[in-house]
Symmetry: C2
C-alpha cells in the first residue's frame, strides 16, 4: 500500500529553549495524516548550519518520500535553513532568478503600501532569494520569503517558513496536493472512547486481543485520569482505502466495548 512517508524538521532556538510550543509540527502532522500520509519522525534543531545539515543528511538516509523543514527562511543572520540544506546536498546557495522576481514583486508592494522607508534590495532582502543550486522556489502568497523544493535520490526536500500563516498558506497551495497524490487512495480514520472504572493494566490484554482480531486497526490507550480516578482514552485509527476504514474501526469498537463492559468498565464515546 503506497503512502507518502514524511519527516518534519522544525528549526529554531526558540523551540529548544521552550519559548514557544511546536504548533507548526502539530499542524503539519495532523494535516499530512488527514491527507493519508504518514509522518515518521519530527526533529527540532537549532539555528546552526551544521545541525541543520546533519539532520537533513540523517533524514535522507532513511529514504522518505518527503522531508519538510519549517523555519529559518527569513532575512536575518540566524535564518540558516537553506544554507544547511545546501551543505547537506554538498552544494551552495545562489540567487535564483524566479525567487528574485518573487522577492522584488513583494518589495515593490511594500514600498507602495508605505511599509518600507528605505528602498533597494539590500543584501538582507536578497538573502531570501538565494536557494541551494538545483532547487526551485515555491510561491509564498502571504509573506516575503519563498519556500523551496529540491529533489535528492527520490526524496522531495521542502522548506517552509516558520511564520504559521505563511507555512500553512504554502503547504495548502503547493504541498498538500503532492502529499495527497503520494498517499494514493489511502485515507486516515480515527475515533475514540473514554473508559472509566477500570485501570490501564486491566485494559491492556483486551486491547491486545482486539488488535489481534483487527490487524489493520491501531488502538492506543492514554491515561487521562487523576491519582484517585482512572480514566483511559482509547484511540482507534487506521490508514486504509476509502470506505473500508470506517467499517474496520466500527468492528473493533464494538468488540472492545463488549469486553470492557464484561470487566465492569464504563464507556463514554468521544465525537471527532
Amino acid at each position: 500500500m503506497t503512502r507518502g512517508v514524511c519527516e518534519l524538521i522544525t528549526i529554531g532556538n526558540e523551540l529548544l529553549i521552550g519559548k514557544i510550543v511546536n504548533t507548526n509540527a502539530h499542524w503539519l502532522a495532523k494535516r499530512i495524516t488527514s491527507l493519508g500520509g504518514k509522518v515518521k519522525r519530527i526533529i527540532v534543531v537549532g539555528d546552526y548550519v551544521d545541525e541543520i545539515a546533519l539532520s537533513i543528511q540523517e533524514a535522507l538516509t532513511r529514504k522518505n518520500d518527503f522531508i519538510i523543514t519549517v523555519g529559518g527562511l527569513g532575512p536575518t543572520f540566524d535564518d540558516k535553513t537553506l544554507e544547511g540544506i545546501a551543505k547537506a546536498l554538498k552544494t551552495e546557495c545562489e540567487i535564483h532568478d524566479q525567487a528574485l522576481k518573487m522577492v522584488d514583486r513583494r518589495h515593490r508592494q511594500y514600498i507602495e503600501d508605505g511599509r518600507i522607508v528605505e528602498g533597494g534590495l539590500t543584501k538582507y532582502r536578497l538573502k531570501v532569494a538565494k536557494l541551494p543550486k538545483g532547487s526551485e522556489p515555491i510561491n509564498n502568497s502571504i509573506g516575503t520569503s519563498p519556500g523551496m523544493m529540491a529533489e535528492y535520490d527520490g526524496t522531495k526536500i521542502i522548506a517552509l517558513p516558520g511564520v504559521p500563516a505563511e507555512m500553512k498558506g504554502i503547504f495548502e497551495e503547493s504541498i498538500a496536493p503532492l502529499c495527497k497524490k503520494a498517499a494514493g487512495n489511502v485515507m486516515f480514520f480515527e475515533t475514540a472512547l473514554f473508559v472509566e472504572r477500570i485501570m490501564e493494566s486491566e485494559i491492556a490484554p483486551l486491547v491486545e486481543k482486539v488488535m489481534h482480531d483487527n490487524p489493520y486497526v491501531y488502538i492506543k490507550s492514554h491515561p487521562k485520569g487523576t491519582e484517585k480516578v482512572s480514566q483511559i482514552e482509547l484511540h482507534f485509527s487506521t490508514a486504509t482505502e476509502k470506505k473500508r476504514g470506517r467499517d474496520l474501526i466500527s468492528k473493533a469498537l464494538v468488540q472492545i466495548s463488549e469486553l470492557i463492559r464484561d470487566k465492569g468498565g464504563k464507556i463514554k464515546p468521544v465525537r471527532f
Copy 2:
C-alpha cells in the same frame, strides 16, 4: 563553560498523527533551560522498538550529558521505550527488584482504594518493573510506572512517563537536581522587545551589529505582524554566570533600542 547538554526523545504515535501537541517537550525544554542546561535537539518517534533504539543510538553518538525520553513506560503492548533503550544498549529488559517493590506497593494501594477489581501482578503490571539490565528505577510519586536511569559512555539516559503530571513529578524530584549540577553556575536570562513601523529586513543589519558588539547575547527576531502591519519580536537571551547575564542583556537592549529609534521604529517592551 560547563553546561548540561541534553537531547529529548518524545515517543508516541499520537504526536506523529497530530492528535496532541508536544507540550511535554515544551515543558522540559523550558525547565531545563531555566536550570542553566542546554537542549540541543528534540526528536519525536513512534511506538516502535527499532525507531526508539535507532534514535537513542544516534543521540549517543552526539555525546550529550543527558538523553531524556518521554512516554512509552506503561503496561500496554505499545509502551516500548525500555525495550528500545535496551536494544540500543545491546542488552535486554528484566524484572528489577526495586522497581518491582515500587509497582507492588502501588498495586496494594490500588486494591485498598478499591480501584482494582481483579488482583494479582499480571504480566501487564509486571511489565513496568522490567528495566534494561544495568539500569535503575526512579521513584514515581504520582503514578504506577517507575522512571529509569542508565549510564552509557558518559551519557545519562533517563526515561520519564508520558502522563504530564508523572513526567513533571519525577523530573522535579530526581532529574532537576542533576541538570542544575551539570549546569554549574550558568544561568539563563531572557527578555524581549516588540518593534513596530520597521520591517525585519531593516532590523537584520542592526541585530547583526549589536550581536557583534555583545558576543554573549543571542538576539532573534520573530515576525509577529500581519500582511499589512509589521510587528517584530526581538528576543534577547544569554546563558552565563549569575549576575553577569542581566547586565549583558541590558547593554544590548539599550544599544539596539537606539539604533531602531534612529531608523524610525517604535519599541514596546515585553515583561518576563
